[in-house]
């Protein structure tokens, strides 16, 4: 399984770097401060809700930043250092190489997500009416979102410089939900056939905000319907496949 081999090596190499630990320490500091604040205001549900929500936001944000930074770096770094040549000289297809890189980035993202979320869950008391099942669904969907994000960033790393790719991917990940609403309102205002077609076409781009249901998790106690959760996972998986097909097409004929 050469893809797993590439994934394992990349994963171990990533764990040797400080990015993950820095984020973990920052999250730990936040959790500590939140715990201290909550000791004084334990009865205030609004404060509990605020601190828990901020903890989740920081955890999800940190995991996304880690995934993007890692995925944007993988292929350009191998090309820059010339290590891609001995790798591709082995019995390893370009598709397997990309798959291995993707798996490693996603795995690091998953580990980061789980460790950050567990830290927040254990140290910051959740608000009243909190549903553990909905919380699990939130994490599963976030993990699926991280997969799609890793694949998209890896694909963009084949055509964009590293810094631009990181900026674009993170900007898209965090802001597309807001930009999409503004664009749809503007298109509705413009009207016409062209506006409707463009408006519908915008739905073809991935909506990462749909895979972040932390607000539902804090606003209601009832879990999402499982068919909806599954649909959202499939939605993320389709984008992984699309990003992979595009990446493979771009990488197949590329001179390294």
């Amino acid at each position: 399984m050469p893809a797993w081999l590439v994934a394992r090596i990349t994963f171990l190499e990533t764990l040797r770097k400080k990015d993950y630990y820095v984020l973990l320490i920052l999250l730990g500091i936040y959790a500590l401060i939140a715990t201290m604040l909550l000791q004084e205001k334990a009865q205030n549900d609004a404060i509990r809700r605020l601190l828990f929500s901020l903890g989740l936001t920081f955890s999800f944000g940190a995991a996304a930043i880690l995934v993007v930074v890692l995925a944007a770096r993988q292929v350009p770094k191998e090309i820059e250092q010339g290590t891609i040549l001995p790798l591709l000289a082995r019995p390893l297809s370009r598709e397997q190489f990309l798959t291995g890189k993707f798996l490693a980035c996603w795995l690091v993202g998953l580990i980061a997500l789980l460790s950050f979320v567990v830290l927040i869950r254990l140290m910051v008391r959740p608000p009243l009416g909190f549903s553990e099942i909905l919380f699990a669904q939130t994490i599963i969907l976030k993990a699926a979102g991280l997969g799609a994000l890793a694949a998209m960033t890896l694909m963009l790393s084949l055509v964009l410089p590293e810094a631009l790719n990181i900026t674009l991917s993170l900007g898209y990940y965090f802001l597309w939900g807001i930009v999409f609403n503004i664009l749809q309102s503007a298109l509705a205002f413009v009207g016409g056939m062209g506006g409707r077609v463009v408006g519908r076409g915008l739905y073809a781009l991935p909506h990462f905000e749909m895979l972040n249901i932390s607000r539902i998790c804090l606003a209601q106690g009832e879990p999402l319907a499982w068919w909806l959760t599954l649909s959202l996972i499939v939605y993320a998986a389709v984008y992984v496949v699309i990003a992979f097909l595009v990446a493979f097409n771009l990488f197949e004929k590329r001179w390294v």
């Binding site: 601190l51 073809a204 909506h207 992979f244």
Partner: protein, 359 residues
């Protein structure tokens, strides 16, 4: 999958087909999730506590709008800061305007005053207490007594020479302060409404001071009306929630009633808000209750202008009963006057008997 699709053209075809399929299918998913997630752009954003980040940004938005509002007050005091509770120009002015309106409308509809010199022009700057304001008739306004300044006076200051230096180098004045022209504060107030479209007081103040510039800007009243129509549209009542923007309706109703002399439109605007206010009264704060009382007064005055005395009496009674045990003298005064006017109207024009009615 990519291995099975050996040709790049096949892979591109799959990508395009998948994106086309997603463009068709994902609105269903996006719509379903959007129904569940209280997005920050929904009208109910003030009550949404599901996102800490949104709450922080919302706090920032409201604080920025408040800073702009406070800045407008500082502009009118030539840079000298006052304690906010001690100094609320808008509150003073609106109360004064309401009292004048109640008295003025009373006289205007009174048969005795109607006969007295209708063409006599109003004296510019005339005000019962000697105060003058651009918002009403004159350019500047002087406070009668000393106010508490932010920079303490020598008697209150423990800093000795440092305090002396501060009083010399910074704007410091005792006794009275002349307000600058409110027009200078308008950009700050408008900015406050842009930043936070739910900032009731900023909308009211913008319209109030804008209306006051009518001597130099003939379109000021229509601009103020357009502004408040926008404000009311942006702050519509929400289902199952108390309506807490009575001030906007008061100001717009007032402009219709007095400035554009359109009592029918004022009444049409006020009636639903009064009903909503009666329903929500227990949940309203003191400020909103005051605005609601003002709205009752304006609705009764609008009825008077339309010669609907019975409706005016009904509105006054509803208002008085609603705010009981608090007593609103102007509302009672309007009620008494309406009863007199109704009596007089019935005396001069007896009701039509059933047999005189047309078939």
């Amino acid at each position: 999958m990519a291995v099975r699709l050996s040709k790049p053209s096949q892979r591109w075809a799959v990508v395009i087909a998948a994106l086309a399929m997603l463009a068709g299918v994902s609105p269903l998913l996006v719509g379903r999730i959007a129904e569940l997630i209280p997005f920050p752009l929904t009208p109910d954003r003030e009550r949404d506590e599901s996102s800490g980040v949104v709450r922080i940004f919302r706090g920032l938005q409201m604080s920025l709008a408040d800073i702009c509002y406070a800045k407008s007050t500082h502009y009118q005091h030539r840079g000298i800061l006052y304690q906010i509770l001690d100094e609320d120009i808008l509150g003073e002015e609106i109360n004064k305007e309401q009292n004048q309106l109640t008295e003025g409308a009373d006289k205007a509809t009174s048969p005795t005053s109607a006969a007295a010199k209708p063409d006599e022009p109003a004296k510019p700057g005339a005000s019962p207490n000697g105060h003058t304001h651009e918002g009403q008739t004159a350019e500047e306004h002087k406070h009668a007594g000393p106010r508490i300044t932010e920079i303490p006076t020598r008697a209150r200051d423990f800093r000795g020479i440092i305090g002396e230096v501060e009083r010399k180098v910074k704007p410091f004045e005792l006794g009275h302060v002349e307000h600058t022209q409110p027009i200078e504060a308008l950009p700050w107030l408008r900015l406050a409404t842009w930043i936070n479209p739910g900032h009731e007081k900023a909308w009211v103040a913008t319209a109030f001071w804008l209306k006051g510039t009518s001597r130099r800007n003939p379109r000021a009243t229509s601009q103020a009306i357009a502004l408040l129509e926008q404000a009311v549209a942006l702050n519509r009542p929400r289902p199952d929630q108390p309506y807490e923007k009575q001030g906007l309706v008061y100001m717009l109703g007032n402009l219709y009633l007095i400035e554009s002399n359109n009592p029918a439109k004022a009444l049409a605007l006020l009636e639903p808000v009064l009903k909503q206010g009666e329903k929500d009264f227990a949940q309203l704060g003191e400020v909103q209750r005051d605005w609601l009382t003002f709205n009752f007064r304006n609705a009764a005055l609008a009825c008077r202008k339309l010669n609907q005395h019975e409706e005016a009496i009904e509105i006054c009674r509803r208002g008085i009963a609603l705010i009981f045990p608090v007593e609103d003298k102007p509302l009672k005064q309007i009620l008494r006057r309406e009863q007199q006017l109704l009596k007089k109207a019935r005396e001069t024009k007896p009701p039509i008997s059933p047999k005189d009615k047309p078939a």
